[in-house]
Amino acid sequence: MAVLVKTTINGDSVEYACQPDESLLDVLRNRLGLTGAKEGCGTGDCGACSVIVDGRLTCSCLVLGAEMEGRTLETIEGMADGDKLHLLQQQFIDHAALQCGICTPGFLIAAKALLEKNPDPTEEEIRFGLAGNLCRCTGYDKIVRAVQAAAKEMRGA
């Protein structure tokens, strides 16, 4: 039997029905058309499906859609302000911190969560903070530099 869920996604009230064993990732992608979060591994190892639930960074593949009643959810779709990119997004572009792009939404969400808790992280803290996100293209260095640059810009703003 389907579960009816009322929740808040990127500031908007959203209602959906899902199967009890359906992951939040599948709900986002297949029912709500929010395809920014990707399924890499489906087992919480790659971070491509990262979202923020009630302020905590989470793999949406390891959450049931049914659990979201009354929660507050942030996805990559809510990161830019209309046409204005978030500083992290802009720095990822400026630093060419992506190639194929599959991991990028997850990295951006994880980096946002990291900088909200720690606005001035060391390189090591960035690397540890983003260790749950796998990228097979960049070698991570450009991603770390982009996050460092965005953090600096955000502290100045």
Partner: protein
């Protein structure tokens, strides 16, 4: 599959007790959902305990800390008092998975998943933590080391859930530490692990100790001989050698792709020595 999110522990226990098929408790879901995805388990009922009052709270009292069973590990280090009292427990819990996993995973789930390599479990055992178990017949308490019954099995009966983990108040001049061996710097499963919790007197002599080992037997081990080896000493080299020997002697590991019997046995002693050094320093010993 049915999904239920009851508002009380009693309702949760009743749902679990009445279910004729397979039922699972859902806290963080970082083990359960992976097993569901892999087809290792096919639940008929999943009971989400996160809506139950107090399940996601950390409470401090004169007798210690009560950590709700669904408290995500990320919340542990955000609690300054808990981090100060039990740094070894918090560090152990925070070694599990990524930031994403930390946002959801719980120590009670780590315990109930009953992997011999669970990181938070040896630290909880060394700390002398207990669990509050709620069931159809009321509540009972058990020492953490008495919960695992084997690989993937616990002593919890049908309809029983862990409601909270109780950590004792920190004793004056005491310290705890947890170390694990993994071939990577993080995001891995312990090949061997060790936790030490000890107290010292004004002269730096160890008055009480608990030493536990992970990933070297089917369940976590509380190694009383290892504790005896350092009680009454100032953790001198001779005491550390005895501690290491007692830790190694307690190991009953398996050979697998992550480590051999010989390696695990040797490293258990090394980790015991190093964890004891950290715990001793944290207790204020020099």
């Amino acid at each position: 599959m049915r999904y239920e999110s009851p508002a009380t522990t009693k309702e949760a226990c009743t749902l679990l007790a009445k279910e004729k098929g397979t039922a699972f408790v859902l806290a963080g879901g970082t083990d359960l959902l992976v097993k569901m995805k892999a087809g290792m388990v096919e639940p008929d009922l999943v009971v989400d305990i996160k809506r139950i009052k107090g399940m996601c709270d950390i409470k401090k009292s004169a007798s210690g800390f009560v950590i709700g069973a669904a408290t995500p590990n990320a919340a542990l280090s955000e609690n300054a008092a808990l981090l100060k009292a039990w740094p070894g427990v918090v560090e152990a819990a925070q070694l599990i998975g990524s930031k994403q996993v930390q946002g959801r995973c719980t120590m009670a789930g780590n315990l109930c998943n009953a992997s011999p390599a669970a990181d938070s479990v040896p630290a909880l055992v060394a700390a002398g933590a207990r669990v509050v178990i709620a069931g159809p017949k009321g509540k009972r308490k058990l020492a953490v080391e008495d919960v695992p019954a084997g690989v993937g099995r616990t002593v919890l009966k049908k309809g029983e859930i862990i409601e909270a983990i109780e950590l004792p108040a920190k004793k004056p001049k005491s310290g705890d530490a947890y170390l694990r061996f993994i071939p990577r710097s993080e995001m891995d499963i312990a090949v061997v692990s060790c936790a030490v919790n000890l107290s010292i007197d004004g002269k730096g002599v160890i008055t009480a100790a608990r030493v536990s080992l992970g990933a070297v037997a089917t369940t976590v081990l509380l190694v009383k001989d290892a504790a005896k080896a350092i009680i009454g000493t100032k953790l001198d080299d001779q005491a550390k050698a005895k501690l290491a020997a007692a830790a190694s002697a307690a190991c009953r590991p398996i050979d697998d792709k992550r480590g051999t019997v010989e390696f695990r046995t040797e490293v258990a002693g090394v980790l015991a020595r190093r964890a004891a050094e950290i715990a001793y320093a944290r207790a204020g010993g020099k």
